[in-house]
Symmetry: C2
Subunit: 193 residues, 2 copies
DNA sequence: TGTACATCAGTGAACGCGCGTTCACTGATGTAC
DNA sequence: TGTACATCAGTGAACGCGCGTTCACTGATGTAC
């Protein structure tokens, strides 16, 4: 179905992928055109043959980062289901794992950016809002039968807030204790054993 | 006890106050020396008579923003106590109020910055971490007798995450619904009636 | 109370650097015959 | 199968702008006598 990508498309994709990682590691302002192109093995001059502007790249990178980590989470849920565990447990333990604590650049884009999101211009705000909605929807699908959107919103907020505060405290005992506390509280309250 | 401030001290204070607001509205990278000085009614040239560097101003601004909003929260708690309400209710309803949704520049500095905090250099990371610890401590003091630090961490995370996601959704029905959901969930679970 | 001088707070021009963007050009890939 | 030409993807130099930082200078405030 999906035809062989042209060289141009492959390059475009490589640039977006680099940007999606840089975005999560460094924030909106931390994505430089020249730096991204260099990491993609190119020179900065060719950038505007692929994107109308830096913001256009960022918009694509946000969507890409979101799709990638949603896919990873989907696999996690599938794997845990085959082990007979609940989807919510898979989401909570995956999101609040020690691995996610230190892997910002491949992790959830909402956790990486949410305090900066409200400040973005419409071009970047729209795809950012979309990622927040998708995260809430993902959590809601993981809830046991009858789980409400309100519950999903609260859980998503806790996941995002916990990961951010844990990362701020550091990749150490303090950060990990933060994650553990939230894992325990969320599963105790929302997971049906 | 606190003597009359000198003209120099008053100016210094005014600059920090402007920076503390700008920081919360625009993020770490959004605080410009020239812009802050202009808002404080000065020209940018005089800046380095007050601060060693832009980062030194930011460090002071973080502490200032934290102290200011902690003080506001303290007053809220005192007022609610005199109405016979619990401290936790005052904290949750104050933090997740529609007012706080739209008043980023005078609100909680952790909510305004937490996804950017882990990226900061040590000079700015240290005061940022301090604000996170202070927020957790404030929540713990507001908990009913016997409330643990673990509970405080989870509640603080939920407060911060909820406010950020709500602000991203917008100062509208969606953002307000987000806040309402978290107020309800937190009070139902942690407030002793 | 008044005068002379030192100190202090703030001014405004200038510098250097990074970064987004533009553009003329080059080498490679693909197509026509 | 080979040659000529058009198109495409990427190069690298250059431009303009914003921003942090520096510095010589000015006007106001305060102190000594």
């Amino acid at each position: 179905m999906s035809r062989q990508p042209t060289r141009r498309e492959a390059t475009h994709d490589r640039i977006v992928e680099v940007a999606a990682r840089t975005l999560r590691r460094n924030g909106y302002a931390g994505v430089g055109v020249a730096d991204v192109m260099k990491q993609a093995g190119l020179t900065h001059g060719g950038f505007y043959a692929h994107f109308e502007s830096r913001d256009a790249l960022l918009a694509e990178a946000i969507a890409r980062a979101g799709r990638d980590s949603a896919a990873t989470m989907g696999q996690r849920v599938a794997a845990s289901r085959s082990r007979g565990e609940s989807a919510l447990r898979a989401v909570v333990e995956g999101y609040l794992s020690d691995t996610h604590l230190s892997s910002t650049e491949t992790g959830c884009v909402v956790a990486a950016l949410s305090s900066e999101m409200p400040r973005q211009a419409p071009t970047l705000l729209a795809p950012s809002v979309e990622r927040v909605r998708k995260l809430i929807a993902l959590v809601q699908r993981a809830l046991p039968e009858g789980g409400t959107k309100e519950q999903a919103m609260v859980i998503a907020s806790t996941l995002v807030g916990t990961l951010q505060l844990a990362r701020t405290l550091g990749v150490n005992a303090q950060g990990k204790a933060m994650l553990a506390a939230a894992r325990h509280a969320l599963l105790a309250q929302y997971d049906t054993p």
